[in-house]
Subunit: 304 residues, 4 copies
């Protein structure tokens, strides 16, 4: 199928969303990204690529990196991974300490900050060089050596990272963090500051549309069941406290980041990445969600 016309139409249709949201400003390095950026890239399992707008301009993927972290840790730890992190929607803002205290240090799912920090801790335990490995993994999946750590963002994250430091310390007090607090934060802040573009993101997420098999070299990265389960968790937990609304309006497994990126997957078919820095009140890309809603409406694609 030819998606080029569709994404071009979407790029035009989402224009009214611009100015309704707000670029993330909790760290200076993100606040200076121009609000007007917009890009879409679609990669199909049949090998086609479609793109529009700023689809080749790198941006900070932020929480989207949590999926790459989980995709690394899951094959290593298997189902034992779920002893240290849950798989239920959080029903609360993404950095909530309340839920964590209530659950005695076991985060609700791997896509809230607390859960991602536990996954980071697991990667540190297994890989001698977790930061290098993360970059290698994403480069391999995306087929691009251009993916990099944006160190200005890393520094910015560190400088304003008191909430994450609170989370790690709190979980350490509940014995759910093994590495030193500083190391967990260091690896995590690097992970958040991965920079890549829509085209690369769409390529990397094809893995999850392809049931865990690398779509270009045929290598199995995740078991079929693991890929399916990561998709399920993206659907139920991928959009902070707006997960239900995204499932409702878009109906696809996906993951967003405060850098304004969203990636979604249609199993057996394709992956799609959108970037637009202005965020809605829930911290998800305002125009990005609209674009995906339009994409599913216009293509009539849905998992439901």
């Amino acid at each position: 199928m030819d998606y080029q016309g569709i994404i071009e139409e979407i790029a035009a249709l989402v224009r009214p969303e611009f100015g309704k949201g707000k670029v993330a400003d909790y760290i200076p390095a993100l606040a200076k990204v121009p609000a007007s950026k917009f890009g879409i890239a679609v990669r199909t399992l049949s090998g086609d690529t479609f793109q529009v707008g700023d689809a080749e301009e790198a941006f900070s993927i932020q929480s989207i990196s949590k999926v790459f972290a989980l995709a690394q840790a899951y094959p290593i730890y298997g189902e034992a991974l779920w002893e240290r992190v849950g798989m239920e929607p959080s029903g609360n803002p993404f950095n909530s300490l309340v839920q964590l205290e209530y659950e005695k240090g076991i985060p609700r799912n791997p896509f809230i900050n607390a859960g991602a920090l536990v996954i980071t801790d697991m990667l540190i335990e297994h890989f001698p060089k977790p930061k290098t490995r993360m970059l290698d993994f994403i480069r391999e999946l995306s087929g691009s050596d251009d993916v990099y750590y944006d160190y200005e963002v890393t520094r910015s994250e560190r400088e304003f990272g008191f909430t994450n430091a609170a989370l790690v310390n709190f979980m350490k007090s509940h014995y759910n963090i093994k590495a030193p607090v500083e190391q967990v934060l260091d690896v995590y802040f690097h992970q958040c500051s991965v920079a890549m573009n829509c085209r690369e993101l769409a390529s990397a997420f094809l893995l999850l549309a392809n049931h865990g098999v690398h779509p270009r070299n045929g290598q199995r990265i995740l078991t079929k069941s693991q890929a399916k389960r990561i998709n399920a968790i993206m659907l139920t937990c991928g959009f902070y406290d707006e997960a239900g609304e995204f499932a409702f309006c878009v109906g696809l497994p996906g993951k967003s980041g405060v850098g304004g990126g969203i990636v979604a997957v249609i199993p057996n078919e394709l992956s799609i990445a959108v970037w637009s820095p202005e965020l809605n009140e829930h911290g998800n890309s305002q125009a990005g969600i609209k674009a995906l809603e339009l994409f599913t409406t216009m293509t009539e694609m849905s998992i439901f």
Copy 2:
């Protein structure tokens, strides 16, 4: 596809689950159901029916009726329905007042008790005889006139229904209930006490596998979008505080009830109803969830 062999094998494989759960005992009328009951029914869009065990024995569908209520109210109120009830997973037990207070009387979703009570209030506002209409609607969808209100359960619900009375009163204090408290409770307790069997349930839920069109008479009950959205909400909110785990392990939209029934839908394909009265700690059928997990594993069917 011939599912008969598969469900027969499942019926054998779930035997070890028996005795692990506990029949609901919060009302006497449910407590006396024999724990050993077990049935499966599969209805396909191509018109086939497969069944095993006690698939023709009626049981109390309880919270599964919340889907029938939503399916009636949604076409009437359209998207305005979501002004009075949310669409986010609750992250809390199904009768939690905490969430409701925090959200100022707007329930998180239509499948927690509070949300279902608001939907009931909406049906009362629209239908002169909401109790009669509910039964008619389910009979029409299931193609069976045998669906009935089990009045012993109704009475039992009413006698021990103080938590639901608390919910209605609380929402009334927030102006999110319009009808008199007693009427809302009366209609709601009737709805919970609908009795029908697996075969009838599977037939009725074909509507949601068929994108909102009655599978036998071709009548459109829900728009395509509405059917898709109800499926999305079933996936994210259909299993109380175990919604994430069900999505993870089974990967299908579905709805459970404390009577031990579970119905799930594979869009474009089929619906499947399972009944086994023993519940796990989250209030979902112990063997029922296992059966559905086996069904998706053996058929390799999944939306992800």
Copy 3:
């Protein structure tokens, strides 16, 4: 000591508080009370009475009645009373369901609505005519037959009493209410609508300044320990979520009501009642609290 000059000065000094608060409007019967009303009455154990302003005009004592209810129930049930209601500050608004759910139906203390409803239930269990008895008890303590139920307020409470109905139903679901829901609400709404004036209130509360002995007829109503303990609970729990601030600024055991009344006690010395209908954001009388703060500052009286 001659308090007349002091309270007259206070009456002048609190003038700037007028207009800063807001008359309670959650029920119509209270909303129509003139905002400009203001009265103070002081009764000493040595038998003197001092008063200023509208000290002989009856108003709705509302939550102040919770002290009269506790003072009746405590001698009957003794320390067993505390098995059904706690004695800890709530840290939450006075009708919070959250705390109650967390504590599984045991209210935090007898001065939040939930706790007062349990006390009402205990009075119903013991007295054949709890409504008559309540009025007799207050009349006896205040030495005035003019204390009465303001039935317009009673009706108004009932009409808008959905939150209280929610509380009773919720506690009944936790088996902490024995009488029928409707009866508990009926007695409670009567109790809230007791009307009396500052002079009568100050007289009645002398009991607690006098260690449980009726100051005029010498009859022991409460043991010394019970009187002391009720004072302790008034200090820690008597002012909703402003209890700490009242202890901090005023430093006396006391109780407020949304009708704008406040009563406070100086053990071994006196009791003082103030009335001013405008409430601050915490639901306590704006000018009333200021008046009491001035009284303790000017008299240098304090328990600390």
Copy 4:
């Protein structure tokens, strides 16, 4: 009055409490304190001292030090202090993050850990050598140069101090901490590890029985109003989530620590310090609370 006979009788009467509680074991340095230790010291404003048991053996005063911190900060910052910390009972365990998140980084009161950390931050801002100054302040008040930092406890606190690190980081993310995280924790952990005995503690707390004037040298440390207000906060917030029960059973302003110490004050009269390491389920000294309850019962002293 001669309290010697009374405290000796109390020492005998509390024996049955031994073995009912549990020595604090959250840090190794506290866990090794012998459970059988027990001491009482009474200091009167008239200059008498009474003591029994291990009243001259130093122990870790832990949270009692929070009162010394507040007594230093209050005269410096005045009422502006309350812009950064509240004065309401917390209604939650003493290190709860929930309340803190709900209140957006403003701790409920200065006697929960979060609040004490803010006070520590204020002391750091004002004093060039806050650790030296703290020790000097306590030595001056207690009239003893033997008060010291138990560095083994300090190290132990630091090693297991992840919860406090979580609190400081979280408040820093809400801009309610100004000094570097590590410095606040360092000063705070020192403060917690102050070691002194019952006699010294009782002497130091005479300040609060004497309305803010040093009882031996006549120097005014706190205004009369400040002393009264610290007493009020001790009464409402001094005993974690058992504050109400302590006010109810003992009826005195006081403060406890997990080292097993409790100090209480009878304004105008005396101060009393008790030490017994076994704690009840709320983290307060089991025998210590019993001893104070007996003391008020036997002396008939109470503020109510």
